[in-house]
């Protein structure tokens, strides 16, 4: 032991599903485990679209690790699964239940504050039995090194802590993964950004309007021209007494189109298709945003360094391939495998033995193959090249394209294609898959919807006003390094709590006259920040999380 640092056998950073699974499994192995969570309660910093899967092929699921998980911590099981291809008011709907049920033991909708705080309580019970526990309001701000080797973590609130295993389950903006040099924020095309509204709806109204029983739930996906030329889609999931409705876009596409994420969400919320479910009642409980790693591109193939292992979003383990959107289940698997790897290699002299074994377990369990399908790597090399995309686009726009997609046989084939996990995992990330094809499908096969939507989603100002913040006055967690529009201007639109001509957001564009020349500068106020990490990628910033307990606090998540 060096110095007098406190030492634990394992330190887990972050108490989301990945951290919880790792900690619970470590405790099962009798490992003294300390869990550090920066929120005032687990779940207060977490956002997800809202479906958690248990795959038949997965080595671990949440209900394996936490008895009674589904009864206590989830909203509704998803029994119906659809995708809607939208072109104007024309919508073509496919039943994707087959795809959804492929390899699925169960799938429930969740709200993260409830789910993660329940997990936190279980994790604390388990870990305190082996000499550890969960500490909230503690932000881990970096890695502790001894002669260049990672030996522990440093925190804003506590003295440095040493550990034989460090599990970085600190989410998509993992400061530990970046400190270790394993992840970066460099490329917008490696990320999605999601925004979500949790909307009130009485349980019987949900049952009635979605035609489901009280113990059933529905998931709807949306694609097509709803969002103009921005690549992405939308989702709607039923919770016990609310709906989770959100949109997810490729970050590079958001930046290219200078699109406003909250307006894209509003485009979905106000689409006539949803009017039939809202019945002109709309009360938004919470607006939230999150960055989503694209595992196809960033899932780390060797997510460890020395005693540090990365788990979940921190390692880029978020599978988003067309209508397949799975993140939490992979984080759980990874967390539990990391714990097993440590238990197996305990006592080995090589500090990286656990990380190496964890990598092997990720491969052997098939998890890495799901996250980074080789098929995609092959398809992508041709599929995403602009010339190919353009050629395909032209064919779709021509009468031949309509003919090909528009005949009844094609319709059946399309339904089969969407339901094939093999084909879906190959969908390249271009306009074709997201917009042109669905739009064409809707135009050719769709039914026209004649409802009108009268709902008025809250303004961005109201959405920010409804969020709960504990501002760390005088201590902003993001610093703008370059305030020129060229370097950081993209954040004004891409940031989910900023907008053009809106002074109450994080990023504002301002025309400033200095010595007679006018230039556009970007200014930053971190008070409305929802800590999604978008600006870390699209602007020139020094990005950190706020201190423990500070910043935004999600009630729903």
């Amino acid at each position: 032991m060096t110095d007098d640092h406190e030492h634990y056998e394992a330190v887990v950073v972050g108490c989301g599903p990945g951290g919880a699974a790792a900690a619970a499994r470590l405790a099962d192995h009798g490992v003294e485990t300390l869990v550090l969570e920066r929120g005032p309660e687990a779940g207060s910093k977490n956002v997800s679209g809202g479906l958690v899967y248990a795959e038949e092929s997965a080595p671990y699921t949440l209900d394996d690790l936490f008895d009674g998980f589904r009864e206590a911590a989830t909203e509704r099981p998803v029994t119906d699964y659809y995708i809607h291809n939208v072109a104007g008011n024309s919508v073509k709907t496919y039943d994707l239940t087959d795809l959804h049920e492929h390899d699925t033991d169960w799938c429930d909708s969740v709200l993260r504050r409830d789910m993660d705080s329940w997990l936190e309580t279980r994790v604390h019970e388990k870990t305190s039995a082996t000499g550890g526990g969960v500490l909230t309001n503690v932000r881990v701000n970096g890695l502790l090194r001894d002669h260049g080797e990672i030996v522990g973590v440093t925190c804003d609130e506590l003295e440095p802590i040493e550990a034989d295993l460090i599990v970085a389950a600190d989410g998509v903006n993992s400061e530990l993964a970046r400190d270790a040099g394993l992840m970066d924020w460099a490329e917008p095309e490696e990320w999605f950004q999601g925004v979500k509204a949790v909307v009130d709806m009485a349980p019987d109204a949900i049952d009635d309007r979605f035609d489901i029983g009280p113990e059933e739930g529905a998931a709807h996906l949306f694609s097509g021209d709803l969002f103009e030329d921005v690549r992405g889609g939308g989702f709607l999931y039923t919770n016990a007494d609310s709906l989770s409705i959100g949109t997810v876009f490729h970050l590079d596409s958001l930046v290219e189109q200078s699109a406003e994420p909250h307006e894209l969400l509003d485009a979905l919320l106000t689409h006539p298709l949803l009017a039939g479910w809202f019945k002109n009642e709309y009360h938004e409980r919470e607006y939230a945003a999150k960055l989503v790693p694209d595992s196809k591109k960033v899932a780390h193939r060797r997510p460890y360094r020395d005693r540090l292992v990365l788990v979940g979003d921190a390692a880029g383990q978020m599978q988003a391939q067309g209508p397949i959107i799975k993140g939490m289940n992979h984080a759980v698997t990874a967390g539990a495998l990391a714990a097993d790897a440590f238990a197996i290699t305990r006592g080995t002299a090589d500090p990286a033995a656990a990380g190496r074994r964890y990598t092997t377990l990720l491969e052997d369990s098939g998890t890495m193959a799901k996250l980074r399908p080789r098929r995609y790597d092959l398809a992508r090399t041709v599929g995403e090249r602009d010339t190919v995309t353009n050629a395909v686009e032209r064919v779709l726009a021509s009468p031949i394209g309509s003919l090909a997609v528009g005949n009844p046989i094609a319709d059946r084939l399309l339904q089969r294609a969407y339901n094939s996990p093999f084909l879906v995992s190959m969908l390249p990330d271009t306009k074709t898959g997201y917009i042109s094809l669905p739009t064409l499908i809707a135009e050719e096969h769709g039914k026209t919807i004649h409802w009108e939507s009268d709902i008025e989603p809250p303004t961005l100002e109201e959405r920010i006003g409804d969020l709960t913040y504990d501002t760390d006055v005088g201590n902003p967690h993001i610093e703008l390094r370059d305030e020129s529009a060229a370097a950081s201007g993209a954040a004004v639109t891409a940031c989910p709590v900023s907008a053009r001509d809106f002074g109450g957001g994080c990023y504002r564009s301002e025309a400033v006259t200095t010595n007679g020349t006018e230039e556009t500068l970007v200014s930053l106020d971190t008070q409305p920040c929802v800590e999604c990490g978008t600006c870390a990628i699209v602007a020139d910033t020094e990005w950190e999380h706020p201190r423990g307990g500070k910043g935004v606090e999600y009630r729903e998540g």
Partner: protein, 529 residues
Amino acid sequence: MTAIDPDDHTVDELTAALETIDDADELQSVLEAERAGQDRATAREAIHRKLEEIAPASDAESDAVEGDTEPEGEDEETKADVDDDAERTDGDDAEADDAETEPGEEDGEDPGEDDVLSHPTRDKQHVRALEDGDYADMWIFCETQGGELLDVSREMLGKGRDLMDQFEADYGDQEAVVAFLMGDDCEALAEECIASGADVAVYHEDERLERFLHKPYTEIAAHMARGEGTVESTDWREYDEPRYILFPATNNGRDLSAKVQAELDSGLASDCSDLFIEESDVSNPVKTGEPGVKKTVEKVLHMKRPDFSGFEYSTILCLDNPNRDFHPQGCSVIPGSFDPMEPDADRDGLVVEHDMELADDWFRVGIAEHDRLEAGIDLTGHDVIVCLGRGIADAPTEGMELGLDLVDAFEDAALGITRGIVTSSYQFEGHVEAYSKEERQIGETGQVVAPDVYIAAGVSGAVQHKVGMDESDTIIAINTDPDARIRDFSDYFIHGDLFEVLPRLTEAIEAGETALEPEAVADGGEGDD
């Protein structure tokens, strides 16, 4: 002899194993083994828990020992307020009393024969350890800044007045409140001290004393306290040293208090928040001189101070030893702890100019440069607040000027701004730039104001801003956006451009018209209440 080796056990197993041990020594050896071995915090806790469990019967002694070693790094020895056991009180400065508080043989010896190591004050030329000295009066160091008394100086004088009036009532002896101060020009301030409650004010003037300097201030204070100097400047008193002495717990006061009390060979209770004088029963043999005997000490200054960020209070006492006095009983006082008395210019009192040669050597350390930091802006308590928001974006400097013009038009108004301005990249010209800083921010993370009239120009009305001004009596908003959120909580809404509306408002108010009547402002747009 260790019954169990903690290294062989997980914390859980260890906890179970500890259940079988009831002997404190044995537990201690397990604890040491743990410390030497894996040193797990949780394991240590488990052992400590067990120790506590078996402790109550046997452990009063060791408890007292632990209580004496405060983690604060302060000099004083403290005791929990809840436990008023005088046995454990011992307000001496550790620096001065290490040797003295050891009971036993040494007690009988002449302190002068102590070796240097065990008597850390031995080499100090100014130490005049007294035995059975005469003490009287409460001395108060009245700190000044920029030619004025600090508020805390008046607060201490007010408290000192109360304490010494009560002292006279309790003991029948009339003792004085003595203010002492120094500076380049402080005779008038000495007079002020009398008006604020002092009976005597001793001052030392020297142009070199304009600012606080560690060495000369300490020398003068000690010189004053000991009653040294010419007969004329000291014949008002007949005692060796002050009975009590108070310093402000300011940066300079803390500095001076530690040094002066060391010079006077006494102790110090730092950062106190309450004071009272009463007798104290003492049975600590170090203080009584005889084991097993209880002695009542009169006129003891009880000095309460917050510990552990105010979770607990300690009361510090500073008591004489049988052959060595610890006077003055001294402390530093947290500003704001006490109320000053209403100044009374007619109060009688004696102002004494202190007489002493100041050695040049004491001024070897001087102040080469100084800068007075802004005290910050207090926006509360004004009749009118004019608040500017990001509506000034088109011409920030002009917008600021217009806001300031309106502020000037009122008798008692101040300018506030929104967070949106503080965090903006607007380039303000020099003459208004100072108004764009955080110290003028109104809202959740700034100041909260509730003036009679709140004029919000170009403020959209975010929730975080509303929190800071919602309680204002009358809210007038000026905005180009008729849907701006601020309209929901304004009494009057002027739909218009602040660059046009503000000058007209200013003009109307300067003309003496009651500009707040809707008709006077409605021209700018629609009046809306």
